[in-house]
């Protein structure tokens, strides 16, 4: 067994020991995880960002990176009272360009593109497709009614809003079911490592 597998196996047991109660082995494993994660992220950030996007271009004579570098460094102006106002420029660039890129993209992907299947023809594509389209449209309209707070929920509007609650509950239930499945899968995946690679009880 190599050292990596041994360490990973022992750390897995140290983390699982928390399920019984908090203990020094768990605390040690938790601290190690945080420390290694930060160290790893710093190394990746240095090699992939600072080194690859600043140092390498500058050392090969691509002086154009000085402009974004200078604007980026102005962010650190916040640490000193005399230069605090400098940081507004890069923050304005980040917010402005970020919002400019994100707003049309999100509007397009999350609303406009989603609306077209919602308003699909209700009939003419077969019984199953028609049923699906009617359920989809009912779900969207009743859920929107549920989130409409400018009218009292009585009469026909109250009935539609209540139907929206059912659609929401079904969605939450499905999502929770998938989330449970996801967590169980993670545990199974880890136990496969423990029983296979670490303890060699099962053969993969």
């Amino acid at each position: 067994m190599d050292w990596g597998t041994l360490v990973a196996g022992l750390l897995t047991f140290a983390v699982f020991s928390f399920l019984y109660r908090d203990n020094p082995a768990y605390k040690w494993a938790e601290s190690l995880l945080i420390g290694v994660s930060i160290g790893y992220t710093l190394v990746i950030a240095w090699t992939s960002t600072v080194s690859a996007m600043i140092i390498d271009p500058l050392s090969s004579g691509r002086w154009g990176v000085i402009v974004p570098l200078a604007v980026g460094l102005m962010l650190f102006g916040r640490f000193f009272p005399q230069t605090r106002s400098w940081s507004r420029i890069p923050i304005a660039v980040i917010i402005g360009s970020g919002a400019g890129a994100a707003i049309p993209a999100m509007l397009d992907a999350r609303i406009l593109n989603q609306m077209s299947p919602t308003v699909a023809p209700l009939w003419g594509n077969g019984l199953v497709a028609s049923f699906g389209a009617i359920v989809l449209l009912s779900g969207v309209l009743s859920t929107l009614a549920y989130f409409y707070f400018s009218r009292e929920r009585t009469g026909w509007f109250g009935a539609v809003a209540s139907t929206g609650t059912w659609f929401l509950m079904i969605f939450f239930g499905t999502t929770f079911g998938y989330t449970v499945m996801s967590r169980v899968s993670t545990f199974i995946g880890r136990m496969e490592f423990v029983l296979g690679d670490f303890l060699h009880i099962i053969h993969q």
Partner: protein, 268 residues
């Protein structure tokens, strides 16, 4: 019994069920869902030598769930003669992604630089995707090992998402969303996804609208894909444990509700 003691027994029961079912050499029958079949057919339909950009956008914590699925998708792609360009926008996924792509490439005797390449990590997923749409070399001057992209045979004539056949986003959380918002909407590159099971319901509407060309999720998805590939793997091995655990959880929910209703009736 205190809440803490009850929790310990629940966890112990879960562990016993998972260990016992994994020790039993029984493979449950897996039915292939339309989701998985759609993904299989999509990859199968790509012409040989097409370049697939594989984006490893997940943390290390998702690895136990997402690894079996990733290996299936990579194996299928390599078996079809597709070329792979690996990228990562999550720092923890960088090395994990490289190891998986290297492992599967070796299984099929693929050569680095000719059949696959790994470009590594870049921060800021949204900005990085926009840059990839304009110029891959603008984002990555070198590959993961410091080789200039112009020296890599596989990337000759490839410099933007327009030359990429499809982006395969292997992700946890909502990272695939950014590929659809920026990659698909802006540059019209098709997106397919291998995701954690918890994200399946979130991405379902994107699949219906065609913004996502195909999607497969979780260990269950891996088991189905392994069946399509005729290959026994971690997905199928875990299905008995998964089914038994689900029954255990259903029993717990029913028991909890029974105790709750009985206690409420007792109070009345």
């Amino acid at each position: 019994m205190t809440d803490l003691r009850i929790r310990r027994w629940i966890f112990l029961g879960l562990a016993v069920i998972v260990v016992l079912t994994m020790l039993v050499p029984v493979t449950t029958k897996v039915t292939v869902s339309p989701y998985t079949q759609r993904m299989y057919d999509y990859i199968d339909s790509l012409p040989a030598h097409s370049v697939v950009m594989v984006s490893f956008d997940h943390d290390a914590s998702s690895q136990p769930e997402i690894r079996p699925l990733s290996l299936c998708l990579l194996r299928h792609a390599f078996s079809r003669g597709l070329k792979m360009a690996g990228v990562s926008f999550q720092s923890e996924g960088t090395v994990i992604g490289y190891r998986m792509i290297e492992q599967t490439a070796k299984e099929f005797g693929r050569e680095y630089g000719v059949d696959y390449v790994y470009l590594g990590f870049r921060p800021q997923l949204q900005a990085a995707i926009l840059q990839l749409g304009e110029s891959i070399r603008g984002l990555y001057a070198q590959d993961y090992f410091g080789t200039p992209l112009d020296s890599i045979p596989m990337l000759v004539g490839i410099d933007s998402l327009a030359q990429i056949a499809v982006v395969l986003s292997i992700a946890d959380a909502n990272n695939t969303t950014h590929w659809m918002e920026y990659g698909k909407a802006r540059f019209n590159v098709p997106i397919i996804a291998g995701v954690t099971a918890s994200m399946v319901t979130s991405y379902d509407p994107y699949l219906s609208s065609g913004q996502l060309s195909a999607m497969v999720g979780g260990l269950r998805g891996a088991a189905e894909y392994e069946r399509l590939l005729n290959r026994h793997g971690a997905g199928q091995r875990g299905m008995l444990a998964q089914s038994a655990t689900h029954l255990y959880l259903i029993a717990l929910i029913l028991t909890g509700n029974f105790i709750f209703l009985r206690a409420r009736r007792g109070k009345k």
